[in-house]
Symmetry: C2
Subunit: 338 residues, 2 copies
């Protein structure tokens, strides 16, 4: 089962947990300064290190030459958070992706190797443990760029040290509705934590889906990083639940909005991506609050991926203009909620 | 069966047909200049003339002293088009109303006697015939104010002559959407026909429900009046049907709007009167175009009456503030469409 078709611990608020570690090979320049043949060599070395390792964890991986994917298929990987949007657009590098899409390894994105693990719900510890095991597999046969004082060397200095970025995708509709987000963003940034929109840096928080992640990679251990993020997340989760209780008791307006959003999702014939995210956010809130019991969180989580533009086009097997895509999105959503 | 729970000829466009004749008694001043005891005498005389006539048509009438109704119950009669909104607010006069609400006779509204007949669909001829028969009953025992040259005398000179106002309630969503209404209003006014909002003069055309009626009462016969209105209505109906065909072929936007409106009506927990009229207009259009087949026009026609504010309060048996009324309206609509 793909991670995004599931739900996990604290699933009412936490959509998913993600850990990413950045690694580079000592004998090669960083990707931005590599020659094409060096890039090829790095990709081949990484592929071999994993697939020929004989490790049980290395089974079921596919090697994807990113330059051979259609733009829609590449962007669909980004929509499922398996690669970065920048990597999808770059049309170079390679990807190692396992069956259930819980491990995706970008080769020659910003760094030579970026190992990423993804789980539904609040499972940062598992995500970190799995990333560590994949890291160990590479470490056995590759020579990482590592400095005794600085730790892992990365192309961008903001990743120096652990090279670790841990993040949680949170659904905070009640916190957002209460107007408390700017305050929350300011407070956690003091603690070295960033809150961003759905697709990371610079993206909008459509439907009140937010990504929180650590900003510090130097001078802290991997475990400290994840524990700190989990601790802060626990407070945000508690605050969101309290805000949901409060709006749930404030008259019929919320219930009305949730039922309308659900009704539109089930009946619309044309649905833009933005409107979908807003409506599905209401639906998700309604399900977690027990207002709507005929839809599962798994269905919603899956739908959030399936209804993204490139993923829709990938399912359709062809490129679609915006208006045809909005019709297909509406059909897909109606089908999933029928 | 009440007329507004039915549908009739040309029911895709024509909600209802109405004929009203204004009559006054020769021996009394017009209502605005009457003394209270004279008003009482007129009401008693009219009541007696009808109820003691022995005519089969006079069976099943109720005599209602308007001053004894609650404001909500009085306004509910206006919402069902049985009396004028002004008469509902006046809290004086009386009403003779038959069982199926096809005949309502206002006593001491603007004139001493205003006979009104109402049918679902385009049935102006039947409405005129029935009004004529009721008129004959009164004429047998009362002495009407009548002038050989002017015809029936009425308080307002715009009703002199036949005292007849024939009207059709039309649903013109496609004509309205195409922007053709101002042109249509101008064209028919040249022909002595007015187009107004749902509740007559000065009211807005919520949900593209329009009332068309004759303006001329002098120098034309009753039959000419009704034939002329029916002829013009036939052209408006044809134009509306053509406009529906055209928008039906113009992509998924209309279908999308209709399904969304239906979905919101079936799921909202709070529904204002204005939003209801807009949404039910879309639903009605969807049913007449065959886009939605699970709701009947009869259900919709009935709902348009039942969901009006005063009628809601009358059903609830108590006064409600606007927000409670919007909740009750949503419940009533959900119940009717379930």
């Amino acid at each position: 089962m793909k991670w995004y078709l599931e739900t996990g611990p604290e699933g009412d608020v936490v959509i998913s947990s993600r850990v990413r570690v950045a690694r580079n090979l000592a004998e090669y320049p960083f990707p931005s300064r590599m020659k094409p043949e060096q890039a090829k060599q790095v990709e081949e070395a990484a592929k071999k290190a994993l697939l020929d390792s004989g490790d049980k964890l290395a089974e079921g991986f596919e090697f994807i030459d990113m330059s051979k994917l259609t733009p829609a298929r590449a962007m669909s990987l980004a929509e499922r958070h398996l690669i970065s949007p920048d990597f999808a657009k770059k049309r170079g590098g390679a990807l190692l992706l396992n069956n259930d899409e819980s491990v995706s390894i970008m080769l020659n994105e910003e760094d030579h190797i970026r190992i990423q693990t993804l789980f539904a719900g609040q499972r940062l510890d598992e995500a970190l443990a799995l990333a560590g095991k994949i890291d160990d597999i590479f470490d056995r046969s590759l020579k990482y760029a590592f400095d005794e004082n600085l730790g892992y060397l990365t192309q961008c200095p903001t990743n120096l040290g652990t090279g670790l970025r841990a993040s949680l995708m949170l659904h905070l509709p009640a916190t957002a509705a209460s107007g408390a987000m700017p305050e929350l963003v300011a407070a956690v940034s003091q603690l070295g934590i960033a809150i961003r929109g759905t697709y990371g840096e610079g993206s909008a928080a459509l439907g009140a889906f937010y990504q929180i992640s650590n900003q510090v990679t130097l001078g802290v251990s991997e475990k400290e990083t994840v524990d700190s993020l989990s601790g802060i997340a626990a407070q945000i989760i508690a605050q969101e639940r309290a805000a949901r209780d409060a709006i749930g008791k404030s008259g019929p307006a919320l219930e009305d909005r949730i039922w309308r959003s659900y009704a539109i999702l089930k009946n619309a014939r044309v649905l833009s991506g933005e409107e979908f995210m807003t409506l599905v956010s209401d639906l998700r809130l309604g399900v977690t609050m027990g207002i709507i019991d005929s839809v599962s969180l798994e269905t919603i989580n899956g739908l959030i991926c399936q209804a993204q533009s490139a993923t829709l086009m990938t399912s359709a097997g062809r490129n679609l203009d915006a208006s045809d895509r909005d019709v297909l999105r509406a059909n897909t959503v109606r089908g999933a909620l029928a």
